[in-house]
Amino acid sequence: MSAGSGRLPRPYLRRPSAWWWLGRWTYLTFMLRDFSCVFMAYFVVVTLLQIRALGNGPEAYAAFEAHLRNPLLIVLNAISLLFVVYHAVTFFNAASTATVVRVGGKRVPDFYITLPNYIAWAAASVVVAWLVLRA
């Protein structure tokens, strides 16, 4: 039995616009974080090219270095470095959300989950820097 037409009422459906990620600061930072993967991939490629140049002898390596001195590439690499650092920082800060460690029944605070990541990063950077600079 029904009153009136008995049809289901028509709901209003709102679809997010393609620019939804500009609507909120946190949405934007999220998109930037995801976008930083592109620069990660770029750095991997550059590193692979660098290794190949190394393997091909000092001349090939000098040519490679000359390419890198191109002002456009310097700008690109600088921007990429910023994104890669952003990527690492956001990744480390996210670690505590996914990792729950309990010691003596109490949850270890987020800070102590994130910190070892930074320490490892710093340690690895020191080792690499030493290897590169002593040559």
Binding site: P9, R10, P11, Y12, L13, R14, P16, W20, W21, G23, R24, T26, Y27, F30, D34, A94, T97, A98, T99, V100, R102, G105, R107
Partner: protein, 247 residues
């Protein structure tokens, strides 16, 4: 403090129009008033046709979630004076179909809650005569946070993935599944794996974390999802490397 504040409320009725319009009302600005008080003032004294859900007005029933100046909030705990001099824009929660004015369609949410089998699943039941399942305060702590969800749906309104793809299981449903998975009395985690690990389960989540920022009860559903991603992956590897392990 000024005497009044302007409140712009989204109005929609399927009989009247195809699009919502905003209607502006002047409402007294009192220090103790929350947005819900303003809406009730409008309904009682200005325009009785304004429809919205509310009940407890103390932030525990989860009925009154709406979008206030672009942000999802419980209107019973959102104070008007914070928006002075105004205007305050009140709209229905994002990412849900609007049925009427500030009322949204919750059926998808309700379906998803039920899908994760949110009850204690046991292989071996204990008789009541044997007393309670022992659970230390520490064991209670492990899932307690996820049990605080009031089903207000602010997390779904905040989640861009759900907005773009409504088949996504969503924060509250996954957090509810985790609430049971991590309850020491539950033995049913394996029965929830399939529903959680499918494509529109946890893997649709890209860790925007807006759900946890929106949550008025500190449930942190993003944590529930990311933690389960770890669990699901570990379990998958285990089943790959040690296929003789029973489920």
């Amino acid at each position: 403090m000024a005497e009044t504040i302007a409140v712009e409320v989204a109005r929609y009725s399927p009989e009247r129009g195809s699009e919502p319009i905003y209607q502006r009302y002047e409402v007294p600005l009192r220090k103790d008033w929350v947005v819900l008080d303003a809406l009730n003032y409008i309904k009682d004294r200005v325009d009785g046709s304004l429809s919205f859900r509310w009940s407890c007005r103390m932030g525990i029933c989860g009925s009154c979630g709406m979008t206030v100046n672009g942000v999802e909030k419980l209107t019973c705990e959102t104070f008007l004076w914070e928006y002075a001099p105004g205007p305050v824009r009140v709209a229905p929660l994002r990412n849900f179909p609007v049925l009427r004015d500030l009322v949204i369609d919750m059926t998808d949410f309700m379906d998803k809650l039920a899908k994760v089998r949110p009850w204690i699943i046991r292989q071996d039941e204990k008789a009541l005569s044997e007393g309670e399942y022992l659970q230390t305060p520490d064991q209670l702590e492990t899932y307690k946070q996820f049990s605080m969800c009031i089903n207000c749906m602010l997390c779904y309104a905040a989640c861009p993935v759900y907005g773009l793809d409504p088949t996504f299981m969503g924060p509250a449903a996954i957090a509810l599944a985790q609430r049971y998975n991590m309850d020491s009395r539950d033995q049913g985690a394996s029965q929830r794996t399939d529903i959680l690990s499918q494509h529109d389960g946890i893997w649709d989540c890209t860790f925007v974390e807006e759900c946890s920022r929106a949550c008025p009860k500190g449930v942190d559903p993003a944590a529930a999802i990311q933690q389960y991603k770890l669990t699901a992956t570990t379990e998958w590897f285990k089943s790959l490397l040690m296929p003789w392990r029973g489920r």
